[in-house]
């Protein structure tokens, strides 16, 4: 049961980190971690189907979109 | 009131199907044109023939109709999504579909036939009609989000830097307002466990005093209402959307935002009926919008920006009618929404025609237009009189009713406010009229192959409609008043 609280704390912390982080690649990786652990929390909150959809979106679609946008904007350079 | 009318969801479903269909046949201009015109005739036809009533999706009746369920301690609520269709919805739907039809006709007439463009117009039509019809607060939220995306797509189709910036700003604040609406719905769901608006209003009436969670839900939903209708903190963003879209598209956007204002205000009044503070807060934001919109509209030197600010301030006037809060004032506000939508549509279509004919909408570059297009100038003069509330036209009726309602509600200052707003609107638009059509200005080059027969027909039809409503206002006003009284807000 303690694991749930740890996950909640990880979600909050990673959200803050993703905003504070200067390097956009790192912040996108942290955002992916946040979204994935949010899916785990959904599972612990008895919403399994939502957890599946959130995991797919957070782990595959969202970072893909962000990485494509980041590549198209900064061409890999940091701002 | 409980006949399960099957035609009601067609107003939402058919535009979506047509949007998907038109979207698929991308390059075939002939078929796009044919399908669009046929489907527009159908869209105008459906709301006229639909009977008043409610539609229960997938036939889920109320739980009260199954006595054995009462053993499970389920209260008597709706179990599915419900659409309700009354007289106000009928009038708004007819006006919305007609102006959408005019917009699509102008778009097709301009030889810029793109399937995706027409599809976006259809999706925005579908979501606006769903917002007006929905009796389910989450369904309403979903279609507001779809409406935001469709409007942004319509604006950024101009492929201009300013339009991209306006669309991005609109989406940034759209996420804030969408999240606030969703949070408000979530808090209401957590407190009362209901999503249907009728059941929710009954539950809140039975609950008596609102607890702090419901009060924060009220504030979040109010922020969403301010965004969707382009009131005070969002008036600049809405105005940017209007001015950067093509003018015939902004003629559609202002219809949608004013009707969403009316629909969402009705939803808020139904859910939180008898919560007086909400009405005074609405009134405050509406007065702010009226003041800023009219004062900014007088400063503009560019036709589309001027018309955008006028549209924003008129939306504020509609919201003033809701803020006063008596049923007479609310009916006057809805009536003014309909009248003002027609007049603003005329002005935006004229702006589109001017943009095509003279290739600019900057006022000091224009001039001597009356020799080129006398009919359009005359209609613009009539539309100026119509939107500033001069007697034979329709806005006079609604603004007179608004002043009367303000005096009856014990706030005659608002009557003075309405008169000042109409004066400001008249000054702002008559300045534009003078500088376009009468000022002996520089010789502008005239695009001769633009004859604009379609535009002239559309604006003449619209101004005749304004005149007809102004001469016989009770045909429109009495059903609205009965509907508002039946709401009991």
């Amino acid at each position: 049961m303690m694991f749930d609280y740890i996950l909640l704390f990880a979600v909050a912390l990673s959200a803050l980190m993703a905003i504070i982080q200067e390097n956009l690649y790192k912040s996108i990786i942290i955002l992916t971690f946040e979204s994935f652990s949010l899916a785990a929390i959904f599972h612990f909150l008895l919403a399994t189907d939502v957890a599946a959809v959130q995991a797919i979106l957070g782990a595959a679609l969202l970072p893909g979109l962000f990485i494509v946008a980041l590549y198209k904007t900064t061409k890999g350079r940091d701002e | 009131m409980l006949n399960n009318s099957t035609l009601i969801p067609l107003m939402v479903v058919l535009p979506l199907i047509m949007a998907i269909l038109v979207n698929f046949l991308h390059q075939k201009d002939k078929s796009v044109k044919f399908i669009s015109i046929v489907s527009l005739i159908v869209f105008v036809f459906i709301p006229v023939v639909t009977l008043y009533g409610v539609h229960l999706f997938s036939g889920h009746l109320r739980t009260g109709s199954f006595p054995e369920i009462s053993k499970l301690l389920i209260p008597d609520v709706y179990m599915g999504i419900v659409y309700s269709y009354g007289s106000v919805q009928k009038i708004l739907m007819v006006v919305l579909t007609i102006i959408t039809g005019f917009t699509v006709l102008t778009v097709l007439n301009k030889k810029m036939i793109s399937g995706v463009y027409i599809a976006m117009i259809f999706i925005s039509l579908a979501s606006t009609s769903a917002i007006m019809l929905a009796d389910d607060i989450f369904n309403f939220f979903v279609f507001t989000e779809i409406l935001v995306v469709a409007q942004v797509a319509l604006v950024i189709a101009v492929q201009d830097t300013k339009s991209f910036k306006a669309g991005f700003k609109y989406m940034i604040f759209g996420t804030i307002s969408g999240a606030s609406i969703l949070l408000g719905i979530a808090l209401l769901l957590g407190v009362y466990g209901l999503l249907n608006i009728t059941d929710l209003s009954n539950a809140i009436k039975a609950g008596g005093q609102l607890n702090p969670i419901a009060l924060s839900a009220v504030s979040l939903l109010t922020l969403g209402w301010l965004y969707e209708s382009g009131l005070f903190p969002f008036h600049i963003i809405k105005c940017n959307m209007y001015e950067n879209a093509k003018p015939e598209i902004s003629a559609l956007l202002q219809v949608q935002s004013k009707f969403v204002l009316v629909a969402m205000a009705i939803i808020l009044f139904r859910v939180f009926s008898g919560f007086a503070l909400l009405k005074s807060v609405m009134l405050g934001f509406a007065i702010f919008t009226v003041v800023l919109g009219s004062v900014m509209a007088l400063q503009q030197v560019e036709l589309r920006k001027l018309l955008s600010f006028v549209a924003v301030s008129q939306a504020g006037l509609v919201a003033v009618g809701f803020g006063i809060g008596t049923s007479f004032a609310i009916a006057a506000g809805i009536f003014h929404a309909i009248n003002d939508v027609l007049s603003m549509a005329i002005l935006f279509f004229i702006a589109s025609f001017v943009y095509d004919k003279f290739k600019t909408t900057k006022l000091e570059e224009l001039g001597d237009g009356l020799q080129v297009v006398p009919l359009v100038g005359f209609v613009m003069l009539l539309a100026t009189l119509a939107i500033s509330g001069v007697p034979p036209f329709n806005s006079y009726q609604s603004e007179w009713r608004l002043i009367q309602a303000a005096a009856q509600a014990g706030v005659p200052e608002l009557g003075v406010l309405v008169i000042l707003l109409s004066v400001a609107t008249f000054v702002a638009i008559i300045k534009a009229f003078f500088m376009i059509f009468m000022k002996p200005g520089p010789k502008v080059e005239v695009n001769t192959e633009v004859r604009g027969t379609m535009f002239k027909a559309i604006i003449v039809i619209l101004i005749l409609t304004c005149l007809a409503i102004g001469l016989f206002p009770n045909i429109i006003y009495d059903p609205i008043y009965n509907f508002v009284v039946s709401l009991g807000v």
Binding site: - | P212, V218, S219, T222, F232, P233, V295
Partner: protein, 103 residues
């Protein structure tokens, strides 16, 4: 007296359009002042809380001391996204204060 006002506006609006521009600016200035007067009367007459009344009086006095207000209004209503964000945050806070605190 009006000539003096016209002169003030003239030298304030050198960059923008003259003539009709100044006329519309004057109109909007008078409209702004009358709107403010109506709003103050409305708040003072209908508000049943002394905070709102004093606030309206203070705002009215502060604005009446800073005429012409039109240019300030125009400066506050630019297309800047930061200004809009500030006003949105202010509005959210104001709504919560009004509905939960209950002025």
């Amino acid at each position: 007296m009006l000539e003096k006002v016209y002169e003030i506006f003239h030298e304030k609006m050198k960059d923008k359009g003259q003539g009709m521009g100044i006329g519309s600016a004057l109109t909007s200035e008078f409209l702004m002042l009358s709107f403010l007067l109506i709003g103050a009367i409305l708040v003072l007459r209908t508000a049943n809380s002394t905070i709102l009344g004093f606030g309206a009086l203070i705002i009215l006095g502060g604005i009446l001391f800073t005429v012409p207000t039109v240019f300030k209004v125009e400066k506050e209503n630019t297309d800047s996204i930061n200004l809009s964000s500030f006003y949105v945050a202010l509005t959210l806070a104001l709504l919560f204060v009004i509905f939960l605190g209950g002025i």
